[in-house]
């Protein structure tokens, strides 16, 4: 089942990636090339197999570690914002969202 150009547009929109027409065409070809090696994966019977989301759970119980809900970070707003594209009065600026 090959992807179509419409699929590529839809995925690119979900990924918030603007693709130029020539990029879009190359992407379609490369993705279909890639999914041709994925097909043999689909043929394997995996019924009853637990997915392995984190590697150590292959051999041991892995529990999500929780910490107390307390403030642990110092305020370093200026340092945190020094690489931001646009800030004003300590706030991040974005294009207008609400008319």
């Amino acid at each position: 089942m090959a992807l179509t150009s419409d699929d590529v547009s839809r995925i690119a929109h979900l990924a918030r990636l603007e693709l130029k027409p020539d990029e879009q065409a190359a992407m379609l070809q490369q993705l279909n090339g890639f999914f041709s090696i994925v097909e043999r994966m689909s043929a394997v019977d995996t019924r009853g197999v637990e997915p392995l989301y984190t590697p150590l759970s292959a051999v041991q119980q892995v529990n999500l570690r929780l910490r107390d809900d307390m403030v642990t970070e110092a305020n370093q707003r200026e340092l945190n914002q020094r690489s931001a594209p646009a800030v004003e009065d300590g706030l991040f600026l974005v294009p207008q969202v609400i008319e």
Binding site: F34, A58, V97
Partner: protein
């Protein structure tokens, strides 16, 4: 002394510093000069000589106070995927041009606490996605053994700098082979520890369930010293392994029961998965790996046949899971909090809002072609209607691959094979076909998916005089056993001491 300085590895340099044969300032100056005269290799993305000399003077002062460890005053450099407060961090991407982190990665802090001097940041594939370093947005890295060939990737700058004797050691990261494969291509030693051994805090995330940091150096001994300092539980990493600090150097030296002076590896069972020696394996690589295995036999090890039947399947499994995690991790690059933002993005005729147009144009401009491909693959396999068929199926197969390893470890203590099917290829050779490059990751991906520790050690030379690496894989948390076996091999051979000519 100075002509020999660059030839010294971490352990040897530590001893020379301890014996006051050389100061950290002297060796730092010497290596900074070498870095400056080897810019053509493209290994570094940033250096700060003044800051390095400040650290070197502090290290010398620590030595004078009697407050020094094995690494105090030893210069290294970090892969540019670890965030640093005092040097730019780019992850090899235009997206992060000029980015300055508000904090240091945990492994950067730990190595600095051990007195290591940081000379700069090393080039890598963009967001660690690649196996040739050609995906760096800044410059390609050349293999010091042959400047027309790739150094491997994604830790290509880290490997090339150590091979060219610009540094005794460096840090790298390995998601699907990114420490082991460039170590193999450049003829150095590298170890990817068990998932969870090194903190991922401050390591720019590619695929969070696979990413691991590790050292790259000339020898197993040097890697052991660095890994001891880098590793350990970190409460800031949710998947950090909770265990006491490890002395990998002591573990490396620990004699096996029944070992003798000539047979230090007596009783060690080395498993050879038949799938790691397919017909398509290059003759030169096969020859060097078999010769290295014969050396292991001389040292007392026995070779046993094992099987990892899903080795080939690990390619699609990995290239579903890693891009899925990447598409999620890289969604943070939106042109708002840090990094690049497109200058002109607003088209009043577009159906999209100004904010959405800003996101899409920013990401189109900031990311390179391979990163875009992986974001697209990841977004697709996680999208509604496709999740079960691709992502869930891949995670189930990942469990089967991890189980295959556990079955092997019933019959052997470590697993060995080639790191890559060929020696380093020519620059540009796999440029236009990403799948061709993915297929070359076949021998490193299974261990990555299972989260096992793995090493590459120099095992000889192949076509064009290029280095061949031997891969050793251990069971979970068996880094000490891997380092012990690698060290025994390196005591009996000198492949790891060979340096490219003209460097």
């Amino acid at each position: 002394m100075s002509a020999r300085l660059e030839a010294m590895g971490v352990a040897e340099l530590g001893r020379a510093l301890q014996d006051r044969q050389v100061s950290s300032v002297e060796v730092t100056q010497h290596l900074l000069a070498r870095i400056a005269s080897h810019e053509h290799l493209g290994a570094f993305l940033s250096t700060d000589a003044d800051a390095a000399l400040v650290q070197a003077r502090e290290a010398d002062a620590r030595r004078a106070r009697g407050d020094a460890g094995a690494l105090t005053g030893v210069p290294i450099a970090h892969k540019d995927i670890f965030v640093t407060r005092d040097l730019p961090t780019t992850a090899g991407s235009k997206m992060l041009a000029g980015y300055r982190s508000p904090f240091d990665a945990t492994i950067v802090t730990r190595l600095a606490d051990a007195g290591v001097v940081s000379l700069g940041k090393l080039n890598c594939d963009e967001f660690a996605m690649g196996s040739s370093n050609e995906n760096s947005a800044y410059q390609i890295v050349k293999n010091p053994w042959d400047a027309s060939r790739v150094p491997g990737g994604s830790s290509g700058g880290s490997a090339a700098a150590v091979a060219a004797r610009l540094l005794p050691a460096s840090t790298g990261t390995d998601t699907g082979g990114s420490i082991r494969q460039p170590a193999s291509f450049c003829g150095i030693t590298g170890i990817k520890p068990t998932y969870g051994v090194c903190s991922r805090y401050g390591m720019i995330a590619f695929a969070s369930s696979l990413d691991q940091a590790g050292p790259m150096a000339r020898s197993a001994e040097d890697c052991a010293l660095l890994l001891s300092a880098m590793s350990g539980f970190d409460e800031r990493d949710a998947t950090s392994a909770q265990r006491p600090p490890q002395d990998f150097h002591a573990q490396m030296l620990q004699a096996r029961p029944g070992a003798t002076a000539t047979q230090p590896l007596k009783g060690l069972r080395i498993g050879l998965p038949k799938e790691f020696f397919p017909d398509a394996l290059a003759q030169d690589v096969n020859g060097a790996v078999r010769a290295a295995l014969a050396e292991f036999e001389k040292l007392g090890a026995t070779l046993v046949d094992v099987s990892l039947p899903r080795t080939e399947l690990s390619i699609p499994v990995y290239y579903i899971i890693a891009p899925a995690e990447a598409s999620s991790n890289l969604s943070r690059f939106d042109g708002v909090r840090y990094g690049h933002r497109a200058k002109d993005f607003f088209d009043p005729a577009s159906k999209l809002s100004a904010l959405e147009q800003m996101y899409s144009r920013t990401r189109a401009e900031g990311f390179g072609a391979e990163v875009k491909r992986r974001i697209m693959i990841g977004t697709y396999v996680l999208s509604h209607g496709y999740y079960d068929a691709y992502y869930l199926q891949a995670q189930k197969l990942r469990r089967m691959i991890a189980d295959d390893f556990q079955a092997c470890f019933q019959a052997c203590d470590v697993i060995a094979g080639p790191v890559a099917p060929t020696v380093a290829w020519k620059l540009g050779d796999k440029g236009d076909d990403p799948v061709k490059a993915y297929l070359a990751d076949i021998f490193t991906l299974p261990g990555s998916l299972a989260g096992l520790p793995g090493m590459s050690i120099p095992a000889g030379f192949g076509e064009g005089g290029m280095p061949v690496g031997l891969q050793l894989l251990g069971n979970y948390f068996q880094e000490g056993q891997l380092l012990h076996a690698a060290h025994a091999f390196q005591q009996a051979t000198d492949w790891h001491q060979r340096a490219p000519s003209g460097t």
